[in-house]
């Protein structure tokens, strides 16, 4: 694999692409230029730096490519590569005799064109086993795969969802090991809460009780506040399920949810959501909790408590001894709140404050104990909002968003509505203009 200190490769690369993938070639011709880019020459190996992101190592690109290619297990007959980088990963994988098919996915045509301009990609582009595709044509992650993280970082708007799904897959082993590392703490928390688990109600008591109804789920995103007038007007007509971080802001606004869902094990994180809630008000709200929640929350809660489990192995033993209903959980309490709405029987769910991002630079709804200003720009982590504009977010929120979308996709018969266009666009939802 050669690279050039000038833009001499584009004609060779372009000719192959035009011959093999003429439609894709037409798309690439329309590509624009990145905001800023340069070709680094004063490093051991030259590379492109696009919008502040190095496209590859500037020291040893072959070793780096071999490392990335190692994610595709030996013996694999097909592979997907998300991003093209300098083309080295494709070359490394195609040298495997057993490789029969490889799909290379372009995450940003603007970036791809610059790479085709500066690096010689002819070896892999001309290989008959290769298919070249645009991210907008790839709905889900395919396996086995390798990824070029710089290309994921530089993904264009239409590749944002695929980018998040790939990053989520790459993070999954770490997330699982982090959960396993907490198993001891989790078991301790369950033991501490055993008397509550044994004597409290069962979330399954709520399942199927409001079949065919519209249920409102209040998350704790900044846009929740814009729905207060609507919620005040509708109060009493529809079931309102709130996540724990939204409880205080809602109550302060005079909106009393029917159910609050909580999941957090950390006392400092979760207790402020409940401290100071008026006892008479709290007594009218049902608390749905997972057994890992800090015991002080259960002690403090004046209303009815209902236990729920997730499918996690940590609940296997306690759920056998004390069977209760199961709710979906994948890191965010909103997952469980939505699943509760579905299991209660909702035919339509209205999500409010489900922003998965920081609209107006705020992390949570005003008045939530965890609400903070977020100064970080959108060049780091971002998602598209309902207007198709980039809005800043965090890696975790992106993962929660994509897991929520996967959940929604499993229930095509349930109409899920996103109340605001200012937060992240949630695939599988529609918008209802709520005033």
């Amino acid at each position: 694999m050669k690279n050039a200190a000038h833009s001499s490769c584009i004609s060779t690369n372009g000719a192959i692409i035009q011959q093999r993938w003429p439609a894709l070639f037409d798309s690439l011709i329309k590509a624009g230029e990145p905001r800023e880019f340069f070709f680094s020459l004063h490093t051991p190996q030259s590379t492109l730096v696009i919008n502040g992101i190095h496209l590859s190592s500037a020291y040893d690109q072959v070793s780096e490519a071999e490392l990335q290619a190692s994610l595709v297990p030996g013996g694999s007959r097909c592979a997907w590569i998300y991003g093209i980088g300098t083309g080295q990963v494709s070359c490394v994988l195609l040298r495997r005799q057993e490789m029969e098919k490889m799909v290379v996915v372009i995450m940003n045509p603007d970036v791809a064109v610059q790479s085709f301009r500066y690096f010689d990609h002819a070896e892999w582009l001309s290989d008959s086993r290769v298919e070249l595709s645009l991210a907008e044509n790839e709905k889900d992650v395919n396996y086995p795969f390798a990824a070029i993280p710089s290309c994921l970082q530089l993904a264009c708007n239409s590749a944002a969802r695929l980018r998040d799904l790939v990053f989520l897959e790459l993070a999954t082993p770490f997330i699982q090991s982090a959960h396993q590392a907490k198993n001891g703490e989790t078991a301790h928390r369950i033991r501490e809460n055993m008397s509550y688990i044994q004597s409290d109600g069962d979330v399954a008591e709520l399942f199927g009780t409001r079949s065919g109804e519209t249920i409102v789920v209040a998350a704790a995103g900044p846009t929740l506040v814009s729905h207060y007038p609507w919620l005040m007007e509708k109060k009493g007509n529809q079931i309102l399920i709130a996540v724990d971080a939204a409880l205080k802001p809602l109550v302060t606004a005079g909106i009393i949810p029917d159910v609050v869902v909580t999941i957090d094990a950390h006392r400092e994180g979760v207790l402020p959501f409940f401290e100071g809630i008026d006892h008479a008000l709290g007594a009218s709200i049902q608390l749905v909790y997972f057994p890992i929640v800090h015991g002080d929350v259960l002690h403090l809660w004046p209303g009815r408590r209902l236990t729920a489990y997730s499918h996690s192995d940590v609940y296997k033993s306690v759920s056998q001894a004390n069977p209760k209903g199961i709710l979906f959980s994948s890191g965010s309490v909103l997952h469980s709140a939505l699943d509760l709405a579905v299991k209660i029987g909702a035919s339509k769910v209205i999500l409010l404050g489900a922003d998965f991002s920081f609209p107006d630079g705020k992390t949570h709804v005003a008045g939530s104990p965890v609400s903070r200003e977020k100064q970080e720009g959108i060049t780091h982590h971002w998602v598209l909002n309902g207007h198709g504009k980039r809005v800043a977010t965090s890696a975790n929120l992106r993962w929660y968003l994509r897991d929520l979308e996967k959940y929604i996709a499993r229930y095509p018969h349930i109409h899920v509505i996103n109340g605001s266009r200012e937060g992240a666009r949630i695939e599988g939802t529609s918008y209802l203009e709520i005033k």
Binding site: I53, E64, Q68, L170
Partner: protein, 93 residues
């Protein structure tokens, strides 16, 4: 590979660089914090040789991590920092 503070610097730096190169953001971030903690404790040593060199690399490293320039962060961890150790101590710690 998740690192702990008892493994040699070179392995710790390589493991963190690998996590960045693979796009494993969670693992890379966790390892990165441990690397920064150790380097920060090194900088506090009054007898530290070539202080200017490590300060410069550290600044660049933090910038790269902050703008999610993972490959540049990885290069600094895998190549520049070990070189600094060799130049400053005559070998990796």
């Amino acid at each position: 590979m998740m690192i702990d503070k008892d493994i040699p610097y070179t392995r710790m730096l390589k493991a963190t660089a690998d996590a960045f190169r693979l796009g494993m953001e969670g693992l890379a971030s966790e390892n990165f914090i441990k690397v920064i903690d150790l380097l920060a404790s090194l900088v506090l040593d009054p007898a530290l040789p070539n202080r200017e060199g490590i300060n410069s690399i550290l600044g660049e490293l933090l910038d790269a991590q902050s703008r999610k320039d993972y490959f540049h962060a990885a290069d600094l961890l895998e190549y520049e920092l070990p070189r600094w150790f060799v130049d400053s101590y005559g070998g990796a710690k």
